[in-house]
Symmetry: C2
Subunit: 189 residues, 2 copies
């Protein structure tokens, strides 16, 4: 069983400086100095790593692969909103072929996570709905984490929230590469 363990907590995303900065809410940088730009970006990468590991854990605890889980999340959100989801929708959302969606829904149906229902107005289509158990399961698995995340943000001042928002928006922009003029709007997409 060389493998089994899935995603260690820290896949050694080691950086030159090591990854100290033990994740405490208030004092995340050891010395009292203002964090440098690089520190912050490292921390962002660290978050990404942690999140990936978390997903692996969830996936494993639900005996499910990434795509299936993504589909499930979308189904739950759509259900909450009262939207119908056809297989076609999953295909475009997940960017996989219709054949793969058939297989995917087969798996989820097999495991009792979703049900196929006839579409009310289009007899070609199949509507996919999550079961009540699925909702409970996901809520239970991810609910605590969401609580903690909200708690962190709730504990911040308005000014701090603006800073974080600005930062995240900047990261999105940087990553989306479109390199639009800094005047807002006008995205190519």
């Amino acid at each position: 069983m060389e493998h089994s363990r899935i995603a260690l907590a820290h896949p050694a995303d080691a950086t030159p400086g090591g990854d100290r900065a033990s994740a405490s809410s208030a004092y995340w940088y050891p010395d009292g100095h203002t964090p440098s730009a690089v520190d912050v970006l490292n921390l962002l990468r660290r978050y990404r790593t942690a999140e990936t590991a978390m997903r692996a854990r969830t996936r494993s605890s639900m005996h499910m692969n990434e795509t299936d889980l993504l589909a499930l999340r979308h189904l739950l959100r759509a259900q909450q909103r009262g939207d119908l989801v056809r297989q076609r929708d999953l295909s475009t959302l997940l960017d996989i072929s219709s054949a793969s969606v058939t297989a995917l829904v087969d798996r989820l149906e097999q495991s009792g996570h979703v049900e196929r229902r006839p579409h009310p107005s289009d007899r070609r289509s199949v509507v996919v709905v999550p079961t009540a158990d699925t909702d409970r399961e996901v809520r239970h698995t991810l609910g605590d984490m969401h609580q903690r995340m909200i708690a962190v943000v709730d504990g911040m001042t308005g000014e701090q929230l603006v800073a974080v928002g600005t930062f995240l928006a900047g990261m999105v922009e940087a990553v989306e590469e479109s390199s639009t003029p800094p005047t807002r709007s006008a995205q190519t997409r």
Copy 2:
């Protein structure tokens, strides 16, 4: 060719409120109000989506899968630091079997991205090194993005950086779920 396109810019990560908030650096929330906790978390999710899409783009532009790219990044970082990387190391880092690493290195060697070298002191081991071309390629592909990211962070005040750092550290903690006492250290791991 139903597929080809990979990762649209916005895989419709639609949220109840829609995902307006066009990604401008300074004014990322439309009204002048302080962003709510949920706004910020939505933005974080949005970043995650954008980053995933970016990875898909990179992967496709380099004709490579996620694992291979991860391996490559690690190899480049190790090289910069002057460290040797054995296949075994990749195995533990990526959490895949030694057999899969053999296949992985085969692929990367085939495509000219890495070379196998004998280990200086252990004749069982194989040292994997990235080629100069690879370094150039990655630098070219990701360099601009890094510049933009650094620029964003550089443009922030010390106070703002602290806010962002606190936020990210909090997110890491929330996601790692260990639910350690808020006094730092003592991680289970």
